[in-house]
C-alpha cells in the first residue's frame, strides 16, 4: 500500500496537470458550443463562421482593453479584459445582426436548404477571419494583466509539504467562474423568461410557434445577440488563458462542433456537458501517466515508459475522433438533440 503522502502527491499531480487545465479548456469549449447549438437549434444550420465570430469578439475586447489600459483604468488583480468584454459584446452583437441582415436573412426568407446557409457561413468565415487579421495582424498577442496566479506552485509546496506543486492561474479561475455565471444566466433566460420560452418553442416547432403569435424576426435577433455574447466571452477567455492569434480560432471550431454534437446538437445542457467531455478526453488521453503511476505503485512495479495513450501531437485529433465516433454511433448525442 502506498503511503498517504504518495497518494496526495499523485492527486495533486493530476489536479495540476489534468483537472485544472481541462476544466478551464472545457469551459471555453462549452461557451463556444452553446453558441453553435443555439444557432443550430433556432436558425437550423451549422455555423462555420462561429470560430471566427469568437476571434472577432476577442479582437474587439483586446482593442477596448488597450484603450482602457491607456486611460489608466484597471480592475486591480483581475484582468482589464473582463471589463472590456461588456462593450465588446455590444459591438459583436451589432456585427452579428448586421451579418444576418446582409447574408443569412436572405436565404432564410427563401426557405433555402440548410446546406446553402452552411456555404454562406463559409463565406462569412473567410471575411471575418480577414477582418480580424486586418485589425490584429497575424502575430500572437497577450493581453492579460493583473495577478498571474491565484495559487503558486512554490507556495503550495511550502504550505503542504508535498513534492508536487499546484499552480492555478487567475485566468483559469476567471474562466470557470464566468462560465458558471453565463451558463446559469442563459438557462434562467431560456427557462424562465417569456422570450426564452418563445425561443425554445420556435426551436421545437417553428410553425406552431408562428401560429402562437411569436415574432420570428425578434427570435432571430435575440438568438444572434446571445450567440455573439457567448462567442465574445468564449473567445476572450480563450485568448486570456492561452494567447490571442487569429488562426487558433479556426482550429477551435472543430472541438466546438464536437462538443455541441457529443452533447446533442440543439440542446444547451448537452453543449456544456459535451464541452467538458471533449476537454477532459483531450487532456487525459494525451497525458503521460508515468509519474502518477510511480507515486501509486510499489517501487519494483514502477513503469519504465511514459504510459501515454496518444502522443501530445494528437491532442487536437482526439476531439475529431470523438466527433466522428459520436456521429457514427449515436448522432443524436448524449442528450438526444435534434436528428438531422
Amino acid at each position: 500500500m502506498p503511503e498517504t503522502t504518495e497518494i496526495l502527491n499523485a492527486l495533486v499531480l493530476m489536479t495540476n496537470f489534468v483537472f485544472v487545465p481541462a476544466l478551464a479548456y472545457g469551459s471555453q469549449l462549452a461557451l463556444g458550443a452553446l453558441g453553435v447549438t443555439l444557432v443550430f437549434g433556432i436558425l437550423r444550420f451549422a455555423n462555420f463562421a462561429h470560430g471566427d465570430l469568437m476571434a472577432f469578439g476577442a479582437t474587439i475586447t483586446i482593442l477596448i482593453t488597450w484603450a482602457l489600459q491607456a486611460a489608466g483604468v484597471s480592475l486591480g488583480p483581475l484582468p482589464t479584459a473582463l471589463l472590456a468584454m461588456v462593450p465588446a459584446i455590444v459591438v459583436t452583437a451589432i456585427v452579428a445582426i448586421g451579418i444576418d441582415k446582409a447574408v443569412f436573412g436572405f436565404y432564410r426568407k427563401r426557405k433555402a436548404a440548410p446546406v446553402v446557409l452552411v456555404i454562406a457561413s463559409v463565406g462569412v468565415m473567410f471575411m471575418l477571419s480577414a477582418i480580424v487579421r486586418f485589425i490584429m495582424g497575424t502575430e500572437e498577442r497577450r493581453f492579460s494583466d493583473g495577478t498571474r496566479f491565484v495559487v503558486r506552485a512554490l507556495d503550495f509546496k511550502k504550505w503542504s509539504g508535498l513534492d508536487e506543486g499546484l499552480a492555478i492561474q487567475t485566468t483559469q479561475v476567471i474562466t470557470v467562474v464566468v462560465t458558471l455565471i453565463v451558463v446559469a444566466a442563459l438557462f434562467w433566460f431560456l427557462n424562465r423568461t417569456r422570450t426564452g420560452k418563445a425561443m425554445r418553442a420556435f426551436s421545437d416547432n417553428e410553425d406552431l410557434a408562428l401560429l402562437s403569435g411569436i415574432n420570428p424576426d425578434r427570435i432571430v435577433m435575440v438568438t444572434w445577440v446571445i450567440a455573439a455574447a457567448l462567442a465574445t466571452i468564449a473567445g476572450s477567455l480563450y485568448g486570456l488563458d492561452k494567447s490571442f492569434s487569429p488562426f487558433t480560432y479556426l482550429q477551435l471550431l472543430l472541438p466546438i462542433f464536437a462538443s455541441a454534437i457529443v452533447g446533442g446538437i440543439g440542446h444547451p445542457v448537452g453543449a456544456v456537458v459535451g464541452g467538458y467531455v471533449v476537454a477532459f478526453s483531450e487532456v487525459m488521453l494525451t497525458y503521460a501517466y508515468k509519474r502518477f503511476a510511480t507515486y501509486l505503485l510499489p517501487e519494483d512495479l514502477a513503469p519504465s515508459h511514459l504510459m501515454q495513450l496518444l502522443s501530445t501531437d494528437y491532442k487536437f485529433a482526439v476531439s475529431f475522433i470523438i466527433l466522428v465516433v459520436v456521429l457514427l454511433i449515436r448522432p443524436t448525442g448524449i442528450f438526444r438533440g435534434k436528428v438531422l
Partner: protein
C-alpha cells in the same frame, strides 16, 4: 430531402402562388458563355504575363490546372450527387504522400532497422481487423461488444511496443536527412495514379462510415476526418518525415540547370533571339545577354512542360467526367440528387451510388494532390490547412457552377487567379491609401501588414456575391428536361 443547395435556392425564388419550376421557364443559357469566359480567363493570364511577369502567369496557369482538377473532383461529389465533402484537404495530402512513397528512393538502413517491426505491426493490425470482423458475424449483443472491446485493448497492448520500437529505430537513422522509410524510387508520374488510389481507398473507408449522415453532419464529419489525416501525416515521421518535410522530389521534366547546358536548347534560344543577340555591342555583352535569355527560357520551358503534362491529365479527366455526366449513370446520379426518395422508389441503391461517386471524386482530388506535390517538388504536411485546401476548392465549384464540369474548371482557374492576384492588389490598395502618410506612424506600419489577408476577404466576398446573385454559378448546369 436532399437537393442541391444552389439549385434549390433558385427554384424556390418568388412568393405565392408557387411559380412554375424555374428550370422550365428559364430561357436557355447562351452557348457562347463558356468560350467567352475561358477566352477572358486566358486574356487575363496574358495580361499578367505582359504587365507583371511571364513567370507569374505560368505559375498561375500550372496551379490553375491543378486547382481545376481538384474542383472537378469536388464537383463530381457536390454537383452530381449533392454530397457536402469538407475533407478535400485530406485527399490532396494523400496524393502528396503518394508522390513521396512512389518517387523517393528507399532508405535501406531504415528498412533494415525497422522494416520487420513495421511488417509485423501490419500483420497484427490486419489479423485483428479480420478477427473482429469474424466475431462481428458470429456473435450478437453484449457478448459481441465485450469481445470486440477486449480484442481492441489486447491488440493495442501487443501492437504498441512492437510498433513503437520499429518507429524509433527508423526515425533514428540519419534523422537530419532521412529518418523515414523512403519510397519505391519509381518515376514520380506513377504517383499521380497511386495518389488517386490512396485517396480512393481512404474515401471508401470514410464513405462507408459517414455517408449515412445528412449534409451538415457529413460536412462536419469529413472536416474532422481530414484534420485527423493531416495530424497523422504531420506526426508519423517514419512515413514521410512529418513536419520535417520531404524536399527535392524527382521531377518528370528536365531541370533548368541541365537545360541551360544542353546544346539543342542553347541552339533554339540563340536562333529564336537572333536579332536581339546580333544587336549586342561585343562578344562579352552577347555572352551575358545569351546567359540571361537561357535562364529565362529554361524556367519558362520547365513551367510549360508541366503545363503540357497537366493539360493532358485535365483533358482526359474532363472527357471522362463529361461522358459520365451525360451517360445513363449521370442521369441516375442527378435523379438521386434531386429526389432521393423517388430514386429509391425506382429501385436505385442510394447508399452504394453515393459511396461510388464519393470514391471517384476523391480519387480525382488525390490525383490533383499528387500533381501539386510533383509541381512543388516537396511534400510539406505542415502547410495543409482547411481554408486553403478545402474551402477554397469549394469557392471554385460554387463560383464556377456546380453540376457543370466546364464550370468547375473555369472556377478552378478564376479563383486561383484571384487568390494569387488579390495579394498584389491588396498591396496596391495599401500603397494608395498610405501614400501621403508619415512612414513612422504606427498606422502606416500596421497597414503594410494587411495586404496578405486581403485575399481571404476577397474570397469571402466573391463566394457570398455569387451565392446570392448567381447561385447557379458562372457556367450553370445544363438542365436537359423540359
Amino acid at each position: 430531402m436532399s437537393q442541391t443547395g444552389a439549385e434549390n435556392g433558385a427554384k424556390q425564388a418568388g412568393a405565392t402562388p408557387p411559380p412554375a419550376p424555374a428550370a422550365i421557364v428559364r430561357k436557355p443559357d447562351s452557348p457562347w458563355r463558356a468560350p467567352v469566359a475561358f477566352a477572358a480567363m486566358g486574356a487575363a493570364l496574358v495580361l499578367v504575363g505582359m504587365y507583371q511577369s511571364w513567370a507569374v502567369a505560368l505559375a498561375i496557369l500550372n496551379m490553375g490546372l491543378v486547382s481545376a482538377i481538384m474542383a472537378m473532383g469536388l464537383n463530381l461529389q457536390w454537383g452530381y450527387a449533392g454530397l457536402f465533402n469538407a475533407g478535400v484537404m485530406a485527399f490532396t495530402a494523400l496524393g502528396g504522400l503518394a508522390a513521396v512513397v512512389v518517387s523517393h528512393p528507399p532508405v535501406m538502413d531504415a528498412l533494415s532497422a525497422g522494416g520487420r517491426g513495421l511488417v509485423l505491426s501490419a500483420v497484427i493490425v490486419i489479423g485483428l481487423i479480420a478477427t473482429i470482423a469474424f466475431v462481428g458475424t458470429q456473435l450478437r449483443g453484449r457478448l459481441r461488444s465485450f469481445i470486440v472491446f477486449v480484442l481492441v485493448i489486447g491488440g493495442y497492448a501487443v501492437l504498441r511496443p512492437i510498433f513503437g520500437e520499429a518507429v524509433t529505430a527508423i526515425e533514428s537513422v540519419d534523422p537530419a536527412r532521412t529518418g523515414f522509410i523512403g519510397g519505391l524510387g519509381l518515376p514520380i508520374m506513377f504517383s499521380w495514379i497511386v495518389g488517386g488510389v490512396f485517396a480512393a481507398a481512404v474515401a471508401w473507408l470514410i464513405g462507408k462510415v459517414a455517408l449515412g449522415l445528412r449534409s451538415d453532419y457529413l460536412a462536419i464529419a469529413t472536416l474532422g476526418i481530414s484534420e485527423i489525416v493531416i495530424a497523422v501525416l504531420k506526426n508519423e515521421d517514419w512515413l514521410a518525415r512529418g513536419v520535417k518535410n520531404v524536399t527535392g522530389l524527382e521531377r518528370p521534366v528536365p531541370y533548368e540547370i541541365d537545360l541551360q547546358q544542353t546544346p539543342w536548347f542553347i541552339d533554339a534560344v540563340t536562333r529564336f533571339n537572333a536579332t536581339a543577340l546580333d544587336a549586342a555591342a561585343d562578344a562579352v555583352a552577347r555572352e551575358a545577354m545569351l546567359r540571361q535569355m537561357l535562364i529565362d527560357a529554361s524556367s519558362a520551358f520547365v513551367k510549360l512542360a508541366y503545363a503540357g503534362l497537366f493539360t493532358v491529365v485535365l483533358l482526359i479527366l474532363l472527357a471522362l467526367c463529361v461522358r459520365a455526366l451525360n451517360s445513363p449513370w449521370g442521369r441516375m446520379m442527378r435523379a438521386i440528387r434531386d429526389n432521393e426518395e423517388a430514386a429509391a422508389a425506382m429501385g436505385k441503391d442510394i447508399t452504394a451510388r453515393h459511396l461510388q461517386i464519393f470514391v471517384l471524386g476523391s480519387a480525382i482530388i488525390g490525383i490533383a494532390g499528387a500533381m501539386m506535390t510533383t509541381l512543388d517538388g516537396q511534400f510539406t504536411p505542415g502547410t495543409y490547412n482547411p481554408l486553403r485546401f478545402t474551402f477554397l476548392i469549394w469557392v471554385m465549384v460554387i463560383v464556377g457552377g456546380s453540376g457543370n464540369n466546364l464550370g468547375a474548371v473555369l472556377g478552378g482557374f478564376l479563383i486561383w487567379f484571384v487568390w494569387v492576384e488579390a495579394e498584389p492588389a491588396g498591396r496596391w490598395i495599401v500603397e494608395v491609401v498610405s501614400a501621403n502618410m508619415d512612414p513612422d506612424t504606427a498606422l502606416y506600419k500596421h497597414l503594410q501588414d494587411i495586404a496578405a489577408p486581403f485575399r481571404l476577404f476577397v474570397m469571402g466576398l466573391v463566394l457570398l456575391i455569387v451565392l446570392r446573385f448567381s447561385p447557379r454559378g458562372l457556367l450553370p448546369e445544363k438542365v436537359r428536361h423540359s
